[in-house]
Symmetry: C2
């Protein structure tokens, strides 16, 4: 089987923001769906894992892009696994519109046991046969988001609701992203395209938890965002760089 | 051209709630997309209207259903226009999974001028040639949601954010629905299927507006919800009946 899976979709009129471009969380959602199709077809997707009490957990995304798809454009998301280690896999994405690449992403995933929440050994899961290094992913490696020296201030709060939950009853990955984008003013988010988006998912968030959003402009056009739960634990870090 | 348009989609793993069923707002979104395809193909869709400074405004939905599609199921949404009057069109929907109908909806739409916000005369828009009465829509007519005698109490608030906005910079129809569902506890929303969903969109909501949600159980298993803006104007009424 081809190590690269291609997921096609058309941006629907009710999936765009006020600029007529697909919303960032929905693009992320489509990437996750592409990853799901890739893994399901190759025997290590949620379909198979849920039957044996395991699940994939998305740990990090680094996404660089030069544009966003517009309403009615057909988008192609290609995804493949570049590497596998004992506890992590490295999955890449290439996003194109009309044959032109508009973005690339690198992601890191772990597999856990849904009962114990402990990481699984990925070396015996049949993933290695699909490793692929021949497709270009011309963006830098994922780096840690440094928040220690920065002055971040609480700017917003949200409570985890019904629409936020995934099938494991945790805040769904795309919804972290939606809440982060919603912490910005329309002027900030609407007038500049996102050039780079980095996120680290650290802790799960459950229904009813109140999450505080901390933000700061940590370089010109660069915003660092921290999400903390009620126990002051950092649940997510994000860095957003505008054009 | 066939007066009925069929829109097919597969429920993706990242589009479901914690029960593994498509979220209600996403189902509504798909219905709006189906309506969009129907209208675009017949010459009176947003594609054509936006070029002449007009737009469609969804006024009401009445939706009765016996089930919700699960992850990976292919859903068919059929839509057609049952009637047209001077200021409104009546559009119906039939939703099926694997050839079995699981729901029907009636909706009312107006067309407005995007500058003046005044309603357009729909009798000269070429819609009449697509009127269709031969397909069954076996649910009651849309009725007004009565809120005058009811005791509704404020239970929640939200602010209109970036992700809430449609291309006209107003709170997007599916997002009204999402905020309404998010006003419920997971126990209420997760343990009972929605049997009937009625909504009236009354006022537009803009970025930054704070909306208060009023709620009350107005009959057994029936909840009435009212959304008010900061000027105490009712922007939306909704009635939700659980199984």
């Amino acid at each position: 089987m081809n190590p690269v899976e291609k997921h096609l979709f058309t941006v629907q009129p009710f999936e765009v923001d006020f600029r007529g471009k697909i919303t960032f969380p929905l693009l992320i959602n489509n990437m996750l769906n592409a990853a799901g199709h890739h893994a399901d077809k190759r025997g290590f997707g949620m379909l198979q894992l849920n039957q044996v009490g395991k699940t994939w957990v998305l740990s990090r995304i680094c996404f660089e892009l030069t544009g966003m798809p517009n309403t009615r454009e057909e988008v192609s998301i290609e995804t493949w696994i570049e590497g596998v280690m004992r506890s992590f896999t490295f999955r890449n994405f290439a996003i194109s519109v009309n044959g032109n690449y508009i973005g690339y992403a690198r992601t890191i995933w772990a597999m856990i046991d849904t009962e114990t929440r402990k990481p699984e050994n990925l070396e015996d899961k049949g993933i290695a046969q699909y490793l692929y290094n021949e497709k270009e992913c011309p963006i830098g490696k994922i780096v840690k988001i440094n928040t220690t020296e920065e002055v971040l201030v609480p700017t917003d709060k949200f409570t985890v609701r019904y629409s936020d939950l995934d099938i494991n009853q945790h805040l769904n990955s795309a919804k972290y992203v939606e809440h982060i984008f919603d912490a910005f003013d329309i002027e900030e988010i609407g007038k500049h395209n996102v050039k780079k988006f980095e996120i680290e998912f650290i802790e799960e968030c459950r229904f009813g938890e109140e999450i505080t959003i901390y933000r700061g402009e940590t370089a010109p056009q660069q915003h660092t965002i921290l999400l903390k739960n009620g126990r002051e634990e950092t649940v997510c870090k994000c860095r957003l760089t505008f054009e």
